[in-house]
C-alpha cells in the first residue's frame, strides 16, 4: 500500500515536467511563448522537431551519442564488474582501503581534471575525436560503479566461491559463469546509470570536440538552448529527442530486473 502511494508521489513529481516538455515541443515555433502552461497546443505541429534536426544537427549528434554509448556502456560495465569482483576476493582490510580510495576519487571535482585530461589527450593526438568520450569506460566511468559491484559480489555466499575453486574454475570463469548471473539486477542498474552519465556528458565533448560533425547530443542541444524565446518549441523538441533514449533504457533495465526477480 505504502509502496503504491510512494509510486504515485514520485509520478506526481516527475510526470508534469515531462508532459509540459512534450506539449511544449508540439507548439508552432516563431510565436511568443504562452504566459501560462498551454497543454493542448493549437495547432499541434511537429515543426519544432524538423527545425531542431535542421538547426541543431541533431541527427548526426544522435548517431555520435549512440556510437559513444554503444562502446562505452558495455565496456564500462565489464570493467566495473571485474574490478568489483576482484575487490570482493581481496582480504577485507585491503578491500576496505581500496573502497576508501575510491571514495576519495569520487570527491574530486570533474572540472579539476579537465586541463590535465586535455593535455594528456592532446599528447596522444586524440583531441577532436570521440576517443576521450569513450576513454572513461576503461576506468568504469565512475569509482562508484566498482563499489556497487563490490558490495553485490560480497553478498554472494563465500561457500559458492570456494565450491568454484574446488571445481578448478579460474577467477575469470567464476566471475563470468557464477558471479555475473547472480548480480544481474546490479548489472541492469549500473548499465542504466552508466548510459545516463555517458549520454548526458556535456563537459568532455565541450572541451575535446571541435568539429561540428563529431558533436554529441548534449552539445547540439546546448546550441538550441540559445535560440530566441519565440523558438522555445525547437529547444523542447530537441530535449524530447535527448530524453527519450534515456527513458527507453530505464524501462528496459526495469523490465530486466522484474523478470529476474520473477524467475527467482
Amino acid at each position: 500500500m505504502w509502496r503504491r502511494w510512494g509510486a504515485v508521489a514520485v509520478v506526481a513529481v516527475f510526470l508534469p515536467p515531462l508532459v509540459l516538455l512534450v506539449s511544449g515541443s508540439l507548439h508552432r515555433p516563431g510565436l511568443p511563448p504562452p504566459t501560462t502552461p498551454d497543454l493542448l497546443p493549437d495547432p499541434v505541429t511537429a515543426e519544432g522537431y524538423r527545425l531542431a534536426a535542421e538547426l541543431g544537427g541533431l541527427t548526426r549528434a544522435t548517431l555520435n551519442s549512440l556510437l559513444v554509448c554503444a562502446i562505452a556502456v558495455p565496456s564500462s560495465v565489464l570493467v566495473a564488474s571485474m574490478a568489483g569482483f576482484a575487490m570482493a576476493r581481496l582480504p577485507r582490510r585491503v578491500a576496505g582501503a581500496v573502497a576508501a580510495l575510491s571514495m576519495v576519487a569520487l570527491m574530486v571535482p570533474a572540472v579539476a581534471l579537465l586541463v590535465p585530461k586535455f593535455a594528456m589527450f592532446r599528447l596522444m593526438g586524440l583531441t577532436d575525436t570521440l576517443a576521450p568520450l569513450v576513454a572513461p569506460a576503461l576506468i568504469a566511468t565512475s569509482p562508484l560503479f566498482p563499489l556497487v559491484y563490490y558490495l553485490a559480489f560480497r553478498a554472494v555466499p563465500r561457500e559458492l566461491y570456494e565450491a568454484c575453486a574446488m571445481e578448478d574454475l579460474t577467477p575469470l570463469r567464476t566471475w563470468w559463469r557464477v558471479g555475473m548471473p547472480l548480480v544481474r539486477p546490479v548489472t541492469a542498474g549500473v548499465g542504466a546509470l552508466t548510459f545516463v552519465l555517458t549520454w548526458s556528458n556535456f563537459l568532455d565533448p565541450l572541451v575535446f570536440l571541435y568539429d561540428r560533425e563529431l558533436f554529441t547530443l548534449p552539445l547540439a542541444l546546448r546550441s538550441l538552448a540559445t535560440l530566441d524565446a519565440a523558438d522555445f518549441p525547437v529547444f523542447l523538441a530537441g530535449a524530447v529527442l535527448a530524453t527519450a533514449p534515456a527513458l527507453v533504457v530505464f524501462v528496459v533495465a526495469h523490465r530486466d530486473v522484474r523478470q529476474w526477480r520473477g524467475v527467482r
Binding site: 516563431g30 511568443p32 511563448p33 504566459t35 538547426l55 541543431g56 579537465l114 586541463v115 586535455f118 593535455a119 592532446r122 583531441t127 563537459l203 565541450l206 572541451v207 571541435y210 568539429d211 561540428r212 552539445l219 546546448r222 546550441s223 538550441l224 538552448a225 540559445t226 535560440l227 530566441d228 524565446a229 519565440a230
Partner: protein, 438 residues
C-alpha cells in the same frame, strides 16, 4: 588487393597529416552564438574559402559565452589553443592580463587590406590593453530603446526621439502601463510589505530594463556621475552624488512608478518575449535583439536613443577577433581577420541584422542602413557612437558584473535605498577589484 593497399596508404597518409588541407592553410576559429548566428559564421567561412581557394576555416562552435570561455581556457592551458577566437571586450580581460593574446597591432600596421582609420576608434580603444592593440573589433553596438509603435499610436503617446530626457521616458512609460480595460495603472508587487491592490494589474508595461551594471552605467555617466573611483584605472565601485541620483531614479521605475514588470513577472516571461508578445511599450537592449524582433509581424516597432539627463551617453557592446599566443597558424588567422573585417566579410555579418559593423564604410552603407529592413531608424546606433563609453578591462570583470547585477536586481525589485546599494556594491566587489591583474 590493390584497393585494400590504396585504402591503407590513404589511412597512413591521413594519420601522418599528409591528407586534406595542409596545416598552414587551415584556420580554427572559436565562436559562440545561437544557431542562426552560427549559420552566419558558416556563410562567412564559405565566402572566405571561395575567395581564397585552398584555405580551410574550421569553426569551433560554442553555445554561449561561458562555454566559449571554458573551451578557450582549457585549450590554452592544455597547450592547443585555436588560431582565432571571438570575444566581447568585457570578458577578454582575463586573457589579456595573462598575456595569452598575441597583439594585433603590428599585423594591422603592416596590413594592405585593413587600416586603423577604417574602424570606429571607440571599438578599437576597447581592445587596447597595456598600450597595445590586442584584438580587432568586429562590431560596435550600444544600448538603445526598442519601442512598439502600435502601442504608442493606440494610446496617442509621442514617440521617443533624440534629446528626450529621463523624465520624458518615465512619463511615456507611465502612459503606456495599462490594465485590461486600457486604463493607466501602476504595477504593484504584492510580495512587497504593505503593497495593496489599487485596481486591476497591468497587462501592458511601459518599459523593461534589465537591472545590470552595464544598463545603469550610461545613466550615471549621462548625469555626469562616476561609477568607479578612477575612470582609467578603477580600483572600486564608488558611486558619487549624481550617480546615486541616477540609481534612485532607476530603482523608482519599479517601486515608485510601477512601470517595469515585477520580479515574478520578469522571471515568468523574459523581456524580449514580452516585447515580441506586444505587451511591452519600450525595452532597453543592444543590437542583438534586432534579429528576434524582425520575426514580429503583429505590430510595427523601431528604435530610439537612450534618454538623457545632462549629457548623452550609452555603453559599448563590442566583440573582436583575437589571436591567442601559441596559435598554430597566426598568418592564416590574420588573413581571415582581414577578410572578415573588410568590405565583403563585414557585409555578410551586417546582413544578419545582429551586428553594427565596426568597419565605418560598411556601417554607413545600405548593407547596415537598409531602408527596407527594421529598425527603420537604424542610424540611431551610428548616431550613438560618439557618446559611447566602455566598461573597464579587468581580468575579474565578469565576476564583478555577476556580483553587481545580483545586488542591482535586489535593489530594483525590493526598492532598496541607493546609499545602501552603493555600499554593498563597493563592499562586495572590492575584493574582486583587488584580485584583478594589472
Amino acid at each position: 588487393m590493390m584497393r585494400a593497399r590504396a585504402l591503407i596508404a590513404a589511412a597512413v597518409l591521413a594519420a601522418a597529416g599528409c591528407g586534406g588541407t595542409p596545416p598552414e592553410r587551415a584556420v580554427s576559429l572559436l565562436v559562440f552564438g545561437d544557431p542562426h548566428e552560427l549559420a552566419a559564421y558558416r556563410s562567412l567561412e564559405a565566402a572566405y574559402e571561395r575567395a581564397d581557394p585552398g584555405t580551410d576555416v574550421r569553426l569551433v562552435e560554442a553555445g554561449d559565452r561561458k562555454d566559449l570561455i571554458t573551451r578557450l581556457s582549457t585549450s590554452i592551458a592544455g597547450g592547443k589553443p585555436p588560431d582565432l577566437f571571438l570575444m566581447n571586450y568585457r570578458f577578454y580581460g582575463q586573457f589579456a592580463a595573462r598575456d595569452a593574446i598575441d597583439p594585433a597591432g603590428p599585423l594591422l600596421a603592416s596590413s594592405r587590406q585593413l587600416r586603423e582609420q577604417d574602424f570606429y576608434p571607440q571599438a578599437m580603444a576597447a581592445f587596447q590593453f597595456g598600450g597595445k592593440q590586442l584584438c580587432m573589433p568586429q562590431n560596435i553596438s550600444s544600448l538603445v530603446v526598442y519601442y512598439n509603435r502600435d502601442l504608442f499610436r493606440k494610446y496617442r503617446v509621442a514617440e521617443p526621439g533624440a534629446g528626450w530626457t529621463w523624465d520624458d521616458m518615465v512619463a511615456t512609460a507611465t502612459a503606456l502601463t495599462r490594465d485590461a480595460n486600457g486604463d493607466v495603472v501602476k504595477g504593484v508587487d504584492f510580495d512587497q510589505p504593505g503593497a495593496a491592490p489599487t485596481g486591476p494589474p497591468p497587462v501592458e508595461y511601459g518599459l523593461a530594463v534589465s537591472p545590470e551594471l552595464v544598463r545603469l552605467a550610461p545613466f550615471v555617466w549621462s548625469n555626469e556621475g562616476k561609477v568607479f573611483d578612477d575612470a582609467t584605472e578603477p580600483s572600486r565601485i564608488a558611486l558619487d552624488g549624481p550617480a546615486l541620483e541616477a540609481l534612485q531614479n532607476f530603482i523608482d521605475l519599479r517601486g515608485r512608478h510601477g512601470v517595469v514588470p515585477t520580479d515574478q513577472e520578469a522571471e515568468s516571461q523574459d523581456d524580449e518575449a514580452r516585447f515580441a508578445a506586444g505587451t511591452l511599450g519600450m525595452l532597453m537592449s543592444s543590437r542583438r535583439s534586432t534579429t528576434t524582433f524582425r520575426a514580429i509581424d503583429g505590430f510595427d516597432w523601431d528604435v530610439a536613443p537612450l534618454p538623457v539627463y545632462r549629457t548623452p551617453a550609452t555603453v559599448l557592446h563590442s566583440d573582436a577577433y583575437c589571436i591567442p599566443r601559441g596559435a598554430p597558424n597566426k598568418t592564416g588567422a590574420w588573413r581571415f581577420v582581414e577578410f572578415a573585417l573588410g568590405k565583403g566579410g563585414a557585409e555578410i555579418m551586417a546582413a544578419t541584422g545582429r551586428t553594427v559593423p565596426s568597419n565605418k564604410a560598411v556601417a554607413e552603407s545600405p548593407s547596415f542602413l537598409d531602408p527596407n529592413a527594421k529598425p527603420r531608424n537604424a542610424k540611431v546606433f551610428l548616431d550613438s557612437i560618439p557618446t559611447i563609453r566602455a566598461a573597464p578591462t579587468l581580468s575579474t570583470w565578469p565576476e564583478i558584473e555577476d556580483v553587481a547585477n545580483d545586488i542591482l536586481e535586489n535593489a530594483l525589485y525590493y526598492n532598496q535605498p541607493p546609499a545602501e546599494v552603493a555600499r554593498r556594491l563597493d563592499e562586495q566587489t572590492a575584493p574582486l577589484f583587488a584580485r584583478a591583474r594589472p
